[in-house]
Symmetry: C2
Subunit: 204 residues, 2 copies
């Protein structure tokens, strides 16, 4: 418990600490993880570069804390999404969120070569996935939609990967086939919503 603390460090609840994480997040989103340097993070937060090392043990630790904060916030957003009366469509919209996807690419790239970040991101992804699949299973079961081919977790994989890819490609400037892909998704969403409305009309 009393592990040697080589250097003193700012409190976890500090406003400056949060400001530095905000700055890091913005930089990562706008210019990529390589732009998240001590000096640039500090400058954007209106602080001196040395303060980064006061509030964070290292740049790696700052990035790890950022990933943790981001996935935690993701769970909060997802909880609201899943509370919707039409969770499937909102899940699709959520999977197509531009900002979250851009951040995810950066963090995936970061995780590819930083063990601690990979573990943190994997944990976050698993927890999000479990929330999604649980909610999807509930809805499908409640509506009596049982399908041996398309299991809820597989359906979630399709929704998630397709949404993310459309956003990625669009930000890249590639939209080949997007119209038909969206039409395909819309087709199944409508089919689901028809069943949903039918079940909502009739009382439980």
């Amino acid at each position: 418990m009393t592990g040697a603390t080589p250097r003193r460090m700012g409190a976890d609840e500090s406003l400056n600490r949060e400001a530095l994480l905000d700055a890091a997040s913005e930089l990562m989103l706008e210019e990529g993880y390589a732009a998240v340097t001590t000096r640039r993070v500090a400058a954007r937060a209106g602080l001196k570069p040395q303060l980064v090392h006061y509030y964070f043990e290292s740049m790696d630790q700052l990035l790890l804390d950022l990933v943790r904060r981001t996935t935690a916030r993701g769970r909060e957003t997802l909880a609201r999404v899943l509370a919707s009366p039409n969770p499937v469509r909102r899940l699709w919209e959520w999977s197509s969120d531009t900002e979250a996807t851009a951040l995810q690419i950066e963090m995936m790239a970061l995780a590819n070569h930083r063990k601690a970040i990979r573990a943190e991101l994997a944990d976050g992804a698993k927890r999000l996935r479990r929330m999604q699949v649980d909610a999807l299973s509930n809805v499908l079961e409640r509506l009596g939609i049982v399908n041996d081919v398309v299991r809820p977790d597989a359906l979630m994989a399709v929704i998630g990967s397709l949404g993310r890819m459309l956003v990625m490609e669009k930000s890249l400037g590639v939209t080949t086939g997007h119209r038909n892909t969206r039409a395909l998704v819309e087709h199944y969403l409508r089919e689901f919503e028809t069943r949903l409305e039918r079940s909502t009309d009739s009382p439980v």
Copy 2:
């Protein structure tokens, strides 16, 4: 044509030049794009750091050349894939290629904040997509599989995004729902292959 050449530069066909691109590719794959620095690229290629600037105008140019070479090689591989008697399954396998996916994440992240690289990567993606969709359309048409809901380009989007996501997640350490997702893909692949075999048995 005689634009001012501020600095002399190595020939395009030089072995050292290729070695530097190889080193950059390996580094990007193993440690991410941020690890692609003059010193590290040179060290891996067994050359002096200054040579990087002899063969490439700048680090940005090196990265751009690497993206161009990578997408060009991708087209060669894809052409072989599409020449297969069973192009749909091989397209699925190709979309699930681990190395290519890891490189793609890095390059997507890189493209997010470098205009020239974004343009190059977008061009490469469009050309690959066109090859894929053309081939898929041909096969589906030849087999008489016409479907207003699942158009060839949308089907390609599903195959591509799903394959990439499974690989990404697996490398992250997340495999929740992968079994059922693979089973889903396998279901449709088998269905397609049954029709394919039937059409191959009967001569044209």
